[in-house]
């Protein structure tokens, strides 16, 4: 996948492999690598899926594999929850 110089992307890398993890953590955590992710602007145009360099928002240059070429804030306001929707009407009746 081609990344243009200056394109805002997210990269990731393994900060710690499972073998390098701390001793006193639960098994489920010890078995997986510690992955780091950060966003920044691609330093140069690149093709392929190797590590690239990015400039972060604090001005550091970091390297990683592109995990998202067009980052989006996908967290949202969820869905209306029926267990919550009944609270307002119920309490307003109490206060009448």
């Amino acid at each position: 996948m081609a990344i243009q110089k200056g394109q805002f992307v997210e990269v990731s890398w393994a900060a710690l492999e499972p073998s390098g993890r701390s001793d006193n953590i639960p098994e489920s955590t010890k078995q997986v690598p510690l992955i780091a992710r950060v966003k920044g602007f691609a330093v140069e145009t690149t093709e392929g899926s190797d590590d690239i360099s990015i400039v972060t928002l604090s001005g550091r240059v970091l390297r990683g594999k592109v995990c998202d070429s067009a980052p989006r804030y996908s967290h949202d306001f969820g869905k209306p929850q029926p267990e919550l929707q009944r609270i307002g009407p119920t309490l307003r009746r109490e206060l009448v």
């Binding site: 993890r21 928002l57 306001f77 969820g78």
Partner: protein, 467 residues
């Protein structure tokens, strides 16, 4: 970057340079150190902090009376009971939480000392607070967060906080679950030379004292008296410590300080499996218990947040109850605020019913709400993770398995945490570090102050540890 092990070995050297503060000068031998001298030497005066915060639009937040919620509480309370419930709207701070008070002082300090940037390891509102203050002072900022589990699923509330940090121009390093985040943080400090805007420095904690002072001044202005009770969300202990110290400095010596946490017992905080099975990432027992029973577990040599000195009572509420009161606050008082900032409100609604109607109880904070934070978002996320979400009796709550939303407001309650049990845990943690060596007189006095226990209590615990 140096290896994990190398960084941990050099932690004292890295931290000393990153905080620019000599903690060693307050040590009194062994377990003891001079806490009050550390706080008065390292902190800025109340007047200085008020000025620093005012300069950046922090503090002096509104105190709101929750008249409808008070009326509701009185319906369920015995005759003559049901204290007036007040709310300190800390969400109105820049960056949306009381954390701005801590960040304002920390970042001011960093700028004054000539650091080019600030860094903090936090998945909470503190990151955005630091980023916002760094933007105001023209400093660079790096925030490290623990966000994702090994499947790459991010806790929505933490994603929102990361977004906020980036909105203020901060670099946000997002990690999967693991306490090794601390070693990476050491690496960032080592590489950049940035200031460690730790949550637990004396100036950070002291920054919250202005909140306590405002509470006293505002209540006296409104009611003629200091508040009878202040309920403070409790996690790492900074909130309780700073607020209590501020109230004391304002002369509110008979105000009762009650800490409140969401109960997450049974969930392991370093577990990849458990990480996304909780709906609260702060203000919970996963921090509240360990930090109360051993404050000096932080990234600074001595933690300025020492909650056992200040807690008069400590209660817990369930996740579902916090979501319930969040909805109640929006629907009955027209205030839409984040659920983590309403943990103390959930407790206060119940505690108000124990107090007389003429008394006053203050909820010490609110936080802003947004995508990811909102109860709708958290409950939808919980359902997706296989958590059972339903109406019912909050006493059937099992953290990590279900979220139970009360059917009636009368079902809200608080669970008491036995402070003497926590004192015993604290003293056990302290005595273990003595390796059988008897306590000195200075250490005994220190332990009495630090755990707010009598001499007899401390000596009785010590007897079990001397060979």
């Amino acid at each position: 970057m140096a290896t994990y092990a190398e960084l941990v070995k050099r932690r004292n050297e890295i931290m000393t340079r990153a905080i620019g503060f000599d903690f060693a000068q307050f040590e009194n031998g062994g377990l003891a150190f001079d806490y009050e001298r550390m706080m008065s030497n390292a902190g800025y005066s109340l007047a200085e902090m008020t000025r620093i915060q005012k300069d950046v639009g922090v503090g002096d937040t509104p105190l709101l009376e929750l008249r409808n919620i008070t009326r509701l509480a009185r319906k369920f309370a015995p005759p003559g009971k049901g204290a007036r419930i007040f709310l300190k709207d800390e969400a109105s701070n820049p960056s949306g939480s009381f954390k701005a008070r801590r960040a304002a002082i920390s970042v001011y300090h960093a700028a004054r000392k000539g650091y080019k940037g600030v860094a903090a390891a936090t998945s909470g509102n503190y990151g955005a607070a630091v980023a916002s203050q760094a933007a105001m002072r023209g400093l660079k900022c790096i925030i490290l967060q623990e966000v994702y589990d090994s499947r790459g699923i991010g806790q929505p509330e933490i994603l929102e906080k990361g977004r906020a940090c980036e909105a203020y121009g901060a670099e946000v390093l997002q990690l999967t679950v693991g306490p090794e985040l601390f070693a990476l943080f050491l690496g960032v400090l080592d590489e950049t030379g940035f200031f460690n805007a730790s949550l637990y420095t004396p100036f950070g904690i002291a920054g919250i004292e202005t909140l306590g002072v405002e509470l006293s001044e505002q209540l006296v202005a409104r009611t003629g008296r200091n508040p009878d009770v202040v309920v403070v969300t409790h996690a790492g202990g900074g909130n309780v410590t700073g607020t209590a110290r501020g109230l004391q400095k304002a002369g509110a010596h008979s105000t009762q300080i009650i800490g409140a946490s969401v109960d997450l017992s049974g969930l392991h905080m370093a577990s990849d499996k458990d990480f996304n099975r909780k709906s609260f990432t702060t203000g919970h027992t996963g921090f509240g218990m360990p930090f109360t029973t051993w404050p000096d577990r932080t990234d600074v040599p001595r933690n300025a947040a020492r909650s056992l000195r200040y807690l008069d009572r400590y209660v817990t509420v369930t996740q579902g109850e916090a979501f319930y009161v969040t909805e109640m606050l929006a629907q009955l008082e027209g205030l839409e605020r984040g659920p983590a900032g309403n943990i103390a409100l959930a407790a206060a609604f119940v505690l108000a019913q124990e107090l007389d109607a003429e008394q006053t109880i203050v909820v010490q904070e609110t936080e802003y709400t947004g995508a990811g934070k909102h109860p709708n978002a958290q409950m939808a996320f919980a359902r997706e993770q296989g958590i059972e979400v339903r109406l019912g009796d909050p006493r059937d709550s099992k953290p990590g398995t279900n979220i139970i939303i009360p059917e009636q407001a009368e079902q809200l309650s608080v669970r008491e945490v036995n402070l003497d049990d926590l004192r015993r845990s604290y003293l056990r943690n302290a005595l273990e570090r003595k390796n059988g060596v008897p306590l000195s007189e200075i250490e005994i006095e220190f332990l009495c102050e630090d755990s707010r226990a009598s001499r007899e209590f401390v000596l009785r615990m010590a007897q079990g540890y001397v060979s």
